[in-house]
Every structure is written in structure tokens, then in C-alpha cells.
């Protein structure tokens, strides 16, 4: 089954790949980049990335910038294919966000709470399309709704159990889940504990 990702209009707008000198325009540009990164990663269930990967990804790399609709297709073999309709006689240019600008976008995401560096050298990062606090809130709401306060869960049960199949946090990656639970722990709504074969959580 192929999923298609709809790129926003900015992605086909050549100046989008140049860091704008005008402060107000740059703000709009960065907001659009942040939004694009989050929706891209959300759709492809990508929770972490290296900067190298990011540079090569179609995300920051519009290989054929054209004035026609382009779609990204995820094929059954998990490869990404970028397809587009050819624009007749139009100039084809490359749109590639330079790595310094990519760093600026990533820093924006970090400031907003959607990104966390996984190493000191800032070569790889965790990307969370919802902030940990937001995830924590959703999880706790489910716990309360289903009357399961004071219950203990393994991390696996929370994200892969039958009971949570309809919940948004079903299928959430462990790294993000941990941070969500840590946020709840801070609010004294949960406690991360060790269980027989790994980690679990108790809700209050």
C-alpha cells in the first residue's frame, strides 16, 4: 500500500531553501520548516534521525524543484520514491537546504520541545511530533478514563497492548514514551519502575 505525502506549497517555492534575510519572513519560513519536518516524520513514523540522513532525505532536498505537484510515495519495500508530473519547458532547479540552515531548523524544533539531541556532538536526534508533555497528558487521560489508576503496566503493554489499539499513543516509540512518562513522573502522576523483563510504569 502506497502512502502519499502532500508537500506544502513552500516546498516547491525555490526561496524556501535559502535562509531568508528578512526577520519576519524568516520566522514564517522556519515555522513552515518545523511544521514540515514534524508532519513528514509523523507520517513515516520516524522517531529519530541523524543529521547526515536528514541532509540526504527528500525532506531538506527537493531534487527536482518544479512547478507541478509532487508526491512522495512509500513503497511496500519501505523505499521512498519521489514522483512528479513534469512541467513543460520550465527551469529545473535544485532546492537543497544547506546544512547550516538545517541546524537552525533543528534548533528551532529543540526550542519548541519537539526535538532532543541524542549525543553531545549533535549528530543524531530524537524527533517527536507531539511534545512529551502532550503525550503524557493523553496517556494519563486514557488511564483515568479506563479507571486504571494505581495499575501497573509494562511499557510494551502501553504502546502495543490490545487495550490501547484505538489510542493515539499506540505504536509510539519507546524513547518518546519514556520521556512522556518522565513528564508525568515530574507531576507525580506516574512512577517508572523496573519489572521482570524491563521497565514499567505505575499510575497514580
Amino acid at each position: 500500500m502506497a502512502m502519499s505525502f502532500e508537500w506544502p506549497w513552500q516546498y516547491r517555492f525555490p526561496p524556501f531553501f535559502t535562509l531568508q534575510p528578512n526577520v519576519d519572513t524568516r520566522q514564517k519560513q522556519l515555522a513552515a520548516w518545523c511544521s514540515l519536518v514534524l508532519s513528514f516524520c509523523r507520517l513515516h513514523k520516524q522517531s529519530s534521525m541523524t543529521v547526515m540522513e536528514a541532509q540526504e532525505s527528500p525532506l531538506f532536498n527537493n531534487v527536482k524543484l518544479q512547478r507541478s505537484k509532487g508526491h512522495l510515495f512509500l513503497l511496500p519495500d519501505s523505499s521512498l520514491k519521489y514522483l512528479w508530473r513534469k512541467a513543460e519547458g520550465r527551469q529545473q532547479t535544485e532546492g537543497k537546504l544547506p546544512v547550516e540552515s538545517i541546524q537552525i531548523v533543528l534548533e528551532e524544533l529543540r526550542k519548541k520541545g519537539n526535538l532532543e539531541w541524542l549525543d553531545k556532538s549533535k549528530s543524531s536526534f530524537l524527533i517527536m511530533w507531539r511534545r512529551p508533555e502532550e503525550w503524557g497528558k493523553l496517556i494519563y487521560q486514557w488511564v483515568s478514563r479506563s479507571g486504571q489508576n494505581n495499575s501497573v503496566f509494562t511499557l510494551y503493554e502501553l504502546t502495543n497492548g490490545e487495550d490501547t489499539e484505538d489510542e493515539e499513543f499506540h505504536g509510539l516509540d519507546e524513547a518518546t514514551l519514556l520521556r512522556a512518562l518522565q513528564a508525568l513522573q515530574q507531576e507525580h502522576k506516574a512512577e517508572i519502575i523496573t519489572v521482570s523483563d524491563g521497565r514499567g510504569v505505575k499510575f497514580f
Binding site: 506544502p8 506549497w9 517555492f13 525555490p14 512547478r67 507541478s68
Partner: protein
């Protein structure tokens, strides 16, 4: 009896004659006014009849609207103005008193929003359209800096009106925008390459800026070289204009284009026509 010659008496008589002439002039004006009033009454009745007979047509049919507006313009009537006036300068010059009495006649008889617009119901249509235009421009300002092509505006307005609303033509849009402009809302109309750019944010755009916008219309972008070649300007003058467009948020800089920096205008980026206003942009548009 001998004829009077030039002397004190003659001068006095001349003065008397002049005075009588002036009096007659006033009398003449009164007559004319009475006659005009009668004619205007008749004209008004006829126009009212015409308007009520064709009211539906005026509301529904954009082409008919254009023709009706043209007819009104020919006879010097602005259906959207508060005071209808006859656009005949000779009258104004020759009989200023009569002219001002005419204006008074209309404004006294039909105070308020505009007799014509109320009677014909045409004013509401343009008033509502004006509001819709402002809404579209506000929603897209975040994207294009307050500059939009007439085509895109038209598309978005039609989209907003839905399938069952009255049809709206580009001519309708221009008229509505002219009204908005007259109300001092900061709207502007810039002719470019056969169409128009509508300015909804009062960015300072002088002749230099406008002419560069016109140049940019062809490809959606413009470069310093292009400006120098087409307009025969010095580099500095071209740079200043482009800097201003960047500053006003009307243009974005592209340093990855082949050769030299390209300055793109989101308003002219044709791809945008088919784009929906994203939820984020809608959020940004709200104050």
C-alpha cells in the same frame, strides 16, 4: 428727443441694464431649475421602474451588471454613491448655483447609505463582496505579504462563496476593490502584464517598485540583471527596490538559482492558485 450720449447718466443706465440682466439671469436659472426638477423626477421614476424590473437580473448576472454600470456611468449616475451627480462639467462651470442646488436636492431627499444602492439592492452585493475580499486577503497575507493576483483572488472568493451563491466576475471584484480603496482601507490596484495585482496591506510602493513588480509578473521572479537590461537602471537603484520588496515581505530571496540571486514573489507563484489555505496559515491570519 435727442439721444443720450456718454455721460454720468449713460453709466447709470448701463448699470441699471446690467442689474436687470443679472436679475433675468437669476430668473432664467430658476426656470431652468424647475424644468430640470421635473425632468429629474421623470428620470428618477423611469430609473426606479427599470431597476425594479431588472433587479433580479442585476443581482444574478455579472454581464448584465457590467452593462448596467456602464449605462449609469454614461448618464452620470453612480449606483453606489450616496449622492448621484451628473458628470457634465459645463453645467458646473456655467451655473454653480444651480449645480449646488441639484446636489442638495439629491442629498436631502435621499439621506443615508445611498438611495441608489438601497433601491437597487446593488450596494449590498458589493458591500458583501468587499468583506469577502478582505477576508481572503487577510487569510493569505501571511503567505504573500499582502499582494495577490486578481486571478487568485477570484478563485478564492468563488471558493468561499460556494456552489449556490451568485456568480462573481473579475469586473465585480475590481469595482468592489475600488470602493474599498475609496474608503481608505489601504487597498491598491497595480496593473501588471494584462492583469492586476491587488494590494491589501498599505506597503509603500512607489513607481519604481510597481514597475519591477510588472517585470516580475512574467516568471514570478526578477533579478538585478533583468531589471538593468529591461529598465536601463543602475545596479544600486535595482538593488534598492529589491531590498524594499524583501523588507515588505513581498519577495523572498533565492540564492540557489543559477547565475545570480533571484527574487521571487509568492503572490505571483502560480502554483499557489490550487493550494488550500493551511490550518496554520489560518491561525496566523487571526490577530
Amino acid at each position: 428727443m435727442h439721444r443720450r450720449g456718454v455721460g454720468a447718466g449713460a453709466i447709470a443706465k448701463k448699470k441699471l441694464a446690467e442689474a436687470k440682466y443679472k436679475e433675468r439671469g437669476t430668473v432664467l436659472a430658476e426656470d431652468q431649475l424647475a424644468q430640470m426638477s421635473k425632468q429629474l423626477d421623470m428620470f428618477k421614476t423611469n430609473l426606479e421602474e427599470f431597476a425594479s424590473k431588472h433587479k433580479q437580473e442585476i443581482r444574478k448576472n455579472p454581464e448584465f451588471r457590467v452593462q448596467f454600470q456602464d449605462m449609469c456611468a454614461t448618464i452620470g449616475v453612480d449606483p453606489l454613491a450616496c449622492v448621484s451627480h451628473c458628470a457634465r462639467p459645463e453645467m458646473t462651470f456655467r451655473l454653480p448655483a444651480l449645480w449646488s442646488r441639484l446636489t442638495l436636492f439629491f442629498s436631502r431627499s435621499y439621506p443615508g447609505k445611498g438611495f441608489w444602492s438601497e433601491m437597487l439592492g446593488v450596494g449590498d452585493f458589493y458591500y458583501e463582496l468587499g468583506v469577502q475580499i478582505i477576508e481572503v486577503c487577510l487569510a493569505l497575507k501571511h503567505r504573500n505579504g499582502g499582494l495577490i493576483t486578481l486571478e487568485e483572488l477570484h478563485q478564492q472568493v468563488l471558493k468561499g462563496r460556494g456552489k449556490f451563491a451568485q456568480d462573481v466576475s473579475q469586473d465585480d471584484l475590481i469595482r468592489a476593490i475600488k470602493k474599498l480603496k475609496a474608503l481608505g482601507t489601504g487597498f491598491g490596484i497595480i496593473p501588471v502584464g494584462g492583469t492586476y495585482l491587488i494590494q491589501s496591506v498599505p506597503a509603500e510602493l512607489n513607481m519604481d517598485h510597481t514597475v519591477v513588480l510588472q517585470l516580475a509578473e512574467k516568471n514570478g521572479y526578477v533579478t538585478v540583471s533583468e531589471i538593468k537590461a529591461s529598465l536601463k537602471w543602475e545596479t544600486e537603484r535595482a538593488r534598492q527596490v529589491l531590498e524594499h520588496l524583501l523588507k515588505e515581505g513581498l519577495a523572498w530571496l533565492d540564492l540557489q538559482a543559477p547565475g545570480e540571486a533571484h527574487y521571487w514573489l509568492p503572490a505571483l507563484f502560480t502554483d499557489l492558485y490550487s493550494q488550500e489555505i493551511t490550518a496554520e496559515e489560518a491561525r496566523e491570519a487571526l490577530p
